[in-house]
């Protein structure tokens, strides 16, 4: 088992490096002045010189690649052209938000998806099942950004007070501004932002993006679970359990679910790219300050270093997600565990 883990980890590393190199190569393919991609003429002069040196922009391409690579390994991803901040810093601020959004969505996807799938399977061909099937087909065919916009439309009509964009509410923003102001003026203030208060605020802002991001994938998980459960239920060992007189609920919980839910974990890995792509769109629509929004922003602002760095990190998220799914599967499937 340990060897399985190690093997998988070792396999992931070259993949990450190759992705980074591939994206960097794309940058190199763009015709025109290379330094225009890295250097904004409005930047302070010493910054320009530093970037020139760090990334070897006046040198032949293989030197450029090598220096860039070394920098990336050390954590230096360049300077954002539009925001005049190190890219690493921007990503460092944005990444946790994206992880929060994706993580919460993943949870919702699997809990909701699996539950609906199991219910659908148990009540096969009933009205509930048919309705759920139709609904999941619809959701599965829906573009994420449209679902997001529809949600915003509906919610802003029905519950105007519910936040439908951003991650932080106005009240907390005001408090933050007040605290900053006090700091600048050197005064003390008794404005406090409670931890609980912050959590609730974030959770409120999370609800709509998570629903928008998770619903379509939850639908496909539900369908997959349904067919998996149906396949397991037909097996002879389930029939044996029933014939032995085991209560139906126990039959389902102990025999059916354990075997049916296992293959569903495999699609966790397959879903990662969709989740990440979806997150980009959802963050854009809801103004959620994560990697996706930075990515889209960098496009409109022609901020190439940030663009490529975001793309790179999103791919790393996919690779790590696949890795986690593989490890989880290896842990759950006794056949692999005892390899």
């Amino acid at each position: 088992m340990f060897r399985y883990v190690v093997r998988r980890l070792l396999g992931a590393i070259p993949m990450v490096l190759l992705v980074a190199l591939g994206l960097r190569a794309l940058m190199a393919l763009v015709p025109g002045d290379a330094s225009a991609l890295w250097i904004n003429p409005d930047m302070p002069v010493d910054q320009i010189a530093k970037i020139r040196a760090d990334f070897g922009l006046d040198q032949p391409w293989y030197v450029q690649f090598w220096r860039w690579f070394l920098n990336v390994l050390q954590g230096d991803l360049g300077m954002s052209l539009a925001q005049f901040k190190p890219v690493t810093q921007i990503i460092g601020d944005a990444l946790p938000n994206t992880l929060l959004l994706s993580g919460a969505s993943m949870l919702v996807i699997f809990v909701v998806g699996m539950t609906i799938g199991v219910i659908s399977a148990i009540k096969q061909y009933s009205l509930t099942d048919n309705v759920l099937t139709v609904v999941s087909f619809f959701l599965y065919s829906m573009p994420g950004f449209w679902l997001a916009l529809m949600l915003i439309l509906v919610v802003s009509e029905l519950w105007p007070s519910w936040p439908s964009s951003g991650m932080v509410g106005n009240e907390i923003l005001d408090k933050v501004a007040a605290i900053e102001e006090a700091k600048l003026l050197g005064e003390t203030t008794d404005v406090r932002i409670g931890v609980f208060e912050k959590w609730i605020d974030t959770a409120q802002h999370l609800v709509m993006p998570v629903i928008a991001l998770g619903l379509a994938s939850a639908a496909s998980v539900a369908r997959y679970t349904r067919s998996s459960v149906l396949e397991v239920v037909r097996q002879d060992y389930v029939r044996t359990a029933r014939a032995k007189g085991v209560a139906e609920r126990k039959v389902i919980l102990r025999h059916v679910l354990r075997n049916a839910l296992l293959p569903v974990i495999t699609i966790l890995g397959l879903m990662m790219p969709f989740l990440v792509s979806g997150a980009v769109l959802i963050e854009y629509v809801f103004g959620w300050p994560g990697m996706g929004q930075e990515l889209v922003g960098s496009v409109t602002q022609r901020d190439t270093p940030l663009l490529v760095a975001c793309a790179m990190l999103l791919s790393v998220m996919v690779i790590l997600g696949n890795l986690a799914a593989d490890l989880l599967y290896g842990f759950a499937d006794p056949r692999i565990r005892h390899d």
């Binding site: 993949m15 190759l18 992705v19 591939g22 994206l23 794309l26 940058m27 393919l29 763009v30 015709p31 025109g32 087909f137 619809f138 599965y140 065919s141 829906m142 573009p143 994420g144 950004f145 449209w146 916009l149 529809m150 915003i152 439309l153 802003s156 990662m272 790219p273 969709f274 990440v276 792509s277 980009v280 769109l281 854009y284 629509v285 990515l295 889209v296 960098s298 496009v299 409109t300 022609r302 190439t304 663009l307 490529v308 793309a311 999103l314 791919s315 996919v318 690779i319 696949n322």
Partner: protein, 402 residues
């Protein structure tokens, strides 16, 4: 030949009377296509107006279909007569696999809806100039741009901020989405089929490297890669060719799924005895690969292609939504939703209708693909039934008894 008297000896009428009703109706519609289109065009007033529609960058997709549509319209009555010509029922020549598939397909209602949906979409694509009351870029009153809601002022589904008709733009948008989807998927499926055959058939290091390459490409989310490419090359490529670039990149990023599917089919087929028989009979590897293995792989490829068109429509819509897709003034459903984003509370129709069309189109392809998948899945009980039915020949039963 069944007795046909009088009227039922006429081409299409014959089908209506004798054959499956659906075919008869379809042929009838095909025959009546020109007058139907004419009536539509006159009633909606589009015939006169579409001539005035403005042309813009990247609109070659829109114009090409006009030419093809005219040709198709002229030809369709002739085709209907030819197909509908009464023929003597041929001595049954052996039900191929495709006949079996068609029979299974007929049984699923959802697959039906999917097929109808897809056919309807392609009708929209062809007949856009006749069905759309205004051009996709038509400004009724350039001096007085205004935004109006559905069912008002001659706009069926409302207008956008440049007072272009949403309904017409949606219809023309079908040309964009479907053409891009079709071409991109054609590209990626061909690539995937070829590479999957090579990987599965030759195995060894060819297979190994190809699969590692596939894993690598799958690590980068498709939308992210497309974003990067379109953004990097946006200024380099003139606007006309943005669509070409998008189609090519969509094709290059979509072949991996098909490749895996084909490869696993080939691997399982390689062990089947009829492939071994081919080797024993001295057939070359190429021959076995192309004439024996490949045709048996086609079923999952067709399913993947159909579902792929749906997925491609979604990706294209997402790209256009972010502003990196088709250029102005070409109407893409995704771009229309993007235009409506700012006005979402004031003019909900700008986002709701185009978005809903995306859902409907993708849904149609998904249902069709799902139905095809069920129909192509060989269920042994189904085929056995047919075999026993064939065994009513005298020769067969007497030989078995001998």
């Amino acid at each position: 030949m069944p007795e046909s008297r009088g009227v039922s000896r006429l081409p299409i009428v014959h089908q209506l009377v004798h054959g499956p009703r659906v075919i008869g109706v379809a042929l009838l519609l095909a025959f009546l296509m020109p007058p139907i289109a004419l009536v539509f065009g006159l009633v909606s007033g589009s015939l006169s107006r579409h001539i005035e529609a403005a042309r813009g960058f990247g609109s070659w997709i829109l114009d090409v279909w006009n030419v093809l549509a005219i040709k198709a319209l002229v030809v369709s009555p002739a085709v209907a007569i030819w197909l509908g010509w009464p023929k003597a029922k041929r001595p049954r020549e052996g039900k191929s696999q495709w006949t079996l598939v068609r029979e299974r397909f007929v049984r699923s209602p959802m697959a039906h809806w999917g097929l109808l949906g897809v056919v309807f979409l392609y009708l929209l694509l062809f007949l856009a100039p006749f069905l759309a009351p205004y051009g996709y870029d038509y400004l009724r009153d350039p001096a007085n741009l205004k935004l109006v809601g559905p069912l008002s002022d001659g706009y069926l589904l409302g207008s956008d901020q440049y007072s272009r008709d949403i309904y017409s733009r949606i219809i023309y948008g079908s040309r964009i989405s479907l053409t891009i989807g079709f071409v991109a998927v054609g590209l990626s499926v061909s690539l995937g089929l070829l590479l999957g055959l090579l990987a599965g058939f030759f195995g060894g290091w060819v297979d190994f490297t190809l699969m590692r390459f596939v894993d690598y490409l799958l690590s980068i989310p498709r939308l992210v890669l497309l974003l990067v490419v379109m953004a990097l090359f946006k200024d380099v490529v003139p606007a006309e060719f943005r669509v070409h670039l998008m189609v090519v990149i969509l094709g290059i990023t979509g072949w991996m799924g098909t490749c895996r599917i084909v490869r696993s089919e080939v691997l399982s087929l390689k062990e089947r005895d009829f492939v071994q028989a081919g080797r024993a009979l001295g057939y070359s590897s190429t021959r076995i690969m192309l004439r024996h293995v490949a045709p048996n792989c086609l079923a999952p490829v067709i399913v993947a292609a159909t579902l792929g068109i749906g997925a491609t429509i979604l990706v294209e819509a997402s790209l256009s939504f972010l502003g990196l897709g088709v250029p102005e003034p070409v109407p893409s459903w995704g771009k229309m939703v993007a235009d409506g984003k700012e006005y979402i509370t004031k003019a909900w129709w700008m986002t709701v209708f185009p978005g809903f069309t995306i859902v409907a189109a993708v849904l149609a392809f998904n249902l069709l693909g799902d139905g095809l998948r069920d129909a192509l899945d060989p269920r042994s009980s189904g085929s056995k039934k047919i075999r026993i039915e064939e065994m009513d020949d005298e020769e067969t039963s007497s030989q078995e008894a001998a």
